[in-house]
Symmetry: C2
Subunit: 394 residues, 2 copies
C-alpha cells in the first residue's frame, strides 16, 4: 500500500510521558518557521529564557533548552562538568541513576554508586557516608523524580550536604519540573536538566537546562575540551548568551521552541504553585480510586510523586493485554514498568495538561472495566465514588 500522510489516533496520554499536549501548544508548533538568527526569533529566545527561569525558580543566566530530548540534557550536564578522572557520586534509586553512571563512565569519570532500592527515596545517610569515604569526589548526581518508579527524593537536603563537602551537584528534574516543588536557586542546585514532554505538556524533543556560576566556572576552566561539540556549553553559550549578537552554533529547532514558549506561558498563567497544587490534588483523587479498587502503590506515601503513579499489577493479570485493551478500546495510554519493574507495575502519569479530573475518571473507569471483565481480583463499583469524593474535597 502506498504511504499516505500520517494521521495519528487521538490518545489520552497517561504514561510516563509524553503527556497530553495542550491544543494551544500544538497550534504554536505549526506557526510559520523563521530563521534562527532572525531578530524576532532572538527576541522570542529571550522571553523563553525568562519563562524557563521562572519555571526553574532561578536567576541563572545560562537557562535554556538543549535542542534535543532529555537524555541529551543529561549528557550536556555530564560532558561539561565531568573531566577524565573525576570521581562522581551517583545516587541511584531507579533506571535513570543507571543512565547517569553510563554518562560518567563515558566521560572518563569514576562513578561511585550510592544505591537505594527501586521505589525508595535516596537515603541521605548513605550519601553522607559516601562523601566521607570519598573526600576527593567532585560531583554528586541525583534524580529528583524517578520516572521509573514514581519516587521523589529530598533534593534540597541532598544538595546542601553535597555542597558542604565541596561537590558540585547535577539534578535530574525531567519529571519534576512544573509538577512538584523545585527551587533551583534556594536549594543551591548547580546544574539541572529536564524534559519538555512531562509536566510542561509540551511535545517531546527539548531539554531545558540551567547552570549556575559555580558550574560554569568549572566548564570555562576545564583542562580538556568537552568531548561533545554539539553539547559544549562554551560554544552553545555564544548562541543562547546575553545580548543581541548571537553566533551561529547549530540551527535551533525553531518550531519546537515556539511550542516550549507557549507551554511555559501556560504554566506562568496558571502560576507555578497552582500547578504544583493541581498535580497533588489530582494525584490524591487517582490514588483514592486506585486504592479503593485494591491496587497498591509501590512507593511509600511520603515519597510519592503526584505526577507519576506506579502501582503493582494484580496477581495473574496479563500486563500487556491490559495495556493493549486500554489503548485499543479507550485510546488510553498508561506506562509499562521499566527495567527491574517490567511486567510488575504500571506507571500512570498525571502530568501537565494530562493532570485533570476527566483523565482520572477515564483511567480509573477504564481500568475497572477492563480488569473487571478479565476477572482480576479487584473491588468493583467503589473506585469512581472514592475518586469523586477526593476530587470534591478541599
Amino acid at each position: 500500500m502506498p504511504i499516505r500522510s500520517f494521521n495519528p489516533p487521538i490518545r489520552t496520554l497517561m504514561g510516563p510521558g509524553p503527556s497530553d499536549v495542550h491544543p494551544r501548544i500544538l497550534e504554536a508548533l505549526s506557526r510559520p518557521t523563521i530563521g534562527h538568527l532572525d531578530p524576532a526569533f532572538i527576541n522570542m529566545m529571550d522571553e523563553l529564557k525568562e519563562l524557563l527561569q521562572y519555571a526553574f525558580q532561578t536567576k541563572n543566566a545560562l537557562t535554556m533548552p538543549v535542542s534535543a530530548p532529555g537524555s541529551a540534557g543529561m549528557e550536556t550536564c555530564f560532558v561539561n562538568l565531568v573531566e577524565p578522572g573525576d570521581k562522581v557520586i551517583v545516587c541511584q534509586n531507579g533506571a535513570f541513576g543507571g543512565r547517569m553512571k553510563e554518562n560518567v563512565e563515558r566521560c572518563g569519570g569514576l562513578p561511585i554508586m550510592v544505591e537505594d532500592a527501586w521505589g525508595e527515596a535516596i537515603d541521605i545517610g548513605k550519601l553522607e557516608e559516601a562523601l566521607k569515604t570519598h573526600a576527593d569526589a567532585k560531583i554528586v548526581a541525583m534524580v529528583h523524580a524517578e520516572t521509573s518508579t514514581g519516587a521523589q527524593s529530598d533534593v534540597a537536603s541532598l544538595v546542601k550536604l553535597a555542597q558542604a563537602h565541596d561537590c558540585l551537584t547535577i539534578v535530574d528534574a525531567v519529571t519534576s519540573l512544573g509538577g512538584t516543588p523545585l527551587k533551583v536557586d534556594s536549594w543551591g542546585i548547580d546544574a539541572i536538566y529536564s524534559g519538555s514532554q512531562k509536566c510542561l505538556s509540551c511535545t517531546p524533543g527539548l531539554s531545558p537546562v540551567s547552570f549556575n556560576e559555580r558550574a560554569l566556572e568549572k566548564v570555562r576552566n576545564r583542562r580538556t575540551k568537552v568531548q561533545s561539540w554539539f553539547m559544549d556549553l562554551n560554544l552553545v553559550m555564544g548562541y543562547w548568551g546575553e545580548g543581541a549578537k548571537r553566533a551561529y552554533h547549530h540551527t535551533a529547532p525553531i518550531n519546537a521552541l515556539y511550542s516550549l514558549h507557549e507551554a511555559l506561558l501556560i504554566l506562568k498563567e496558571e502560576g507555578l504553585e497552582n500547578a504544583w497544587d493541581r498535580h497533588l490534588k489530582n494525584h490524591l483523587a487517582l490514588k483514592a480510586g486506585l486504592e479503593a479498587m485494591g491496587l497498591e502503590f509501590i512507593v511509600k506515601e511520603t515519597d510519592r510523586l503526584p505526577q507519576l503513579n506506579a502501582v503493582t499489577i494484580p496477581a495473574g493479570v496479563d500486563d500487556a493485554a491490559v495495556r493493549s485493551r486500554l489503548l485499543n478500546e479507550y485510546n488510553l495510554e498508561i506506562g509499562a514498568g521499566l527495567g527491574a519493574l517490567a511486567g510488575k507495575v504500571w506507571r500512570i502519569g498525571l502530568m501537565g495538561h494530562s493532570s485533570c479530573a476527566e483523565n482520572i475518571l477515564l483511567c480509573v473507569g477504564a481500568l475497572e472495566s477492563v480488569l473487571g471483565e478479565m476477572g482480576a481480583d479487584i473491588k468493583l463499583g467503589v473506585a469512581l465514588p472514592a475518586m469523586h469524593k477526593a476530587l470534591s474535597s478541599d
Copy 2:
C-alpha cells in the same frame, strides 16, 4: 511588558536554511501527540525509514533521523566510527570541514587535513596524495555540499578512491539531500548525515542518517564504548531497529517526526529526480537575474550547488544594512557569509519548497530595488527580464 504568545512574522526564507516549510508539513507537525511506543507510531517510524531510504537512494537498514539537529547527526557519525588513535582524513573546503576536524579531535582521533580554498570543490589529487602518505588512515570524511560556500564536490569519485585505500567514508549531505543528485548505495558511501531544514523543507531539529553494514560492523566491534550515550548507535538501534519490538532508548521527538514523514512524502510525490531538476532550473533563473545585475558567484560554474548561491557583496555596500532592509521591507531572509566569508558574500538559498519562481522573483526584485536605492554599482532594469527568460526556457 508581559510575555504573550509568540506570533512570528511571515518570512520568505532564502538563506542557508531553514528553508520555507510547506503548509502541509506545518499542519502535520501540529497533529495530536501520541506515545513513542504506541503501535501506530512504530508503524509511522517504519514508513519514515522507507521514505528516507528513498531520499538517500539506499537499502541500508540503519536509515533513520537522529533526534537532534544536523550537527548532532555529524557527531553521531564521528563518535560511532572514530576510536581513539584512529587517523581520519578530513577534506576541508569550507566551514563544515572544520567542524569535522573538531569532532575527530574530540573523539580522540588524529585528523589529517586535506585543504582546499573556500569556494572550491575538493581536489581528488590531494586526497590521493594524503591516502598514500597516510596508509594507516581509517576514515575519510568530506562535505558533499558546503553550506558555507555553495560548492559541491564529486563525492562518488572521492568515496571510490577512499575505499580503494580501505577507508570508511563519512559524508556530510546536510544541504544536498533532496536538492542535488546523491546516491548513497551506488556511490558506496558508508555513513552519511543530513538535516531536515534544507532541501527537505521540514522544520529544523532532525538529522537523517544512514549507515551501511561495513560501517555498522565497525560500530559493533569497537574496542571502546561510544563516548556519547545519547548517540550510541548500539543503543539507538534497539529503538529504530527492525521488528515490532522496540526498546525505549530516549523519548522520540514525536511531532517533529510527523513533519519529517510528511516532508519526505512530498518529496516522493514529486519524485527525487524531478526535485533535483527543479532545483537546477530555478538556480539557473536566479543566476541569470543576479548576473544580469552584475553580481558574481564565488564558486566556479561547474562546482556550483543549485540550492545555495554565494555571491560577492558589491564594493562599498553595507552587508548588514542590505540584509536588514530585505528583512524589514520585504520579509525576505537571505544568508550572511560564514567564517572566512563573513561580510564578503551573501548566501541565497533555493532549497526545497523555497525553490520556486515566485521566490526568485522576490529575491532578484528586492535586491535590485534595495541595492539600486542605496546607489550600489549594479545594472538596473535588466535582472527581472533575464531571470524570466531563464525560467521560461526549456
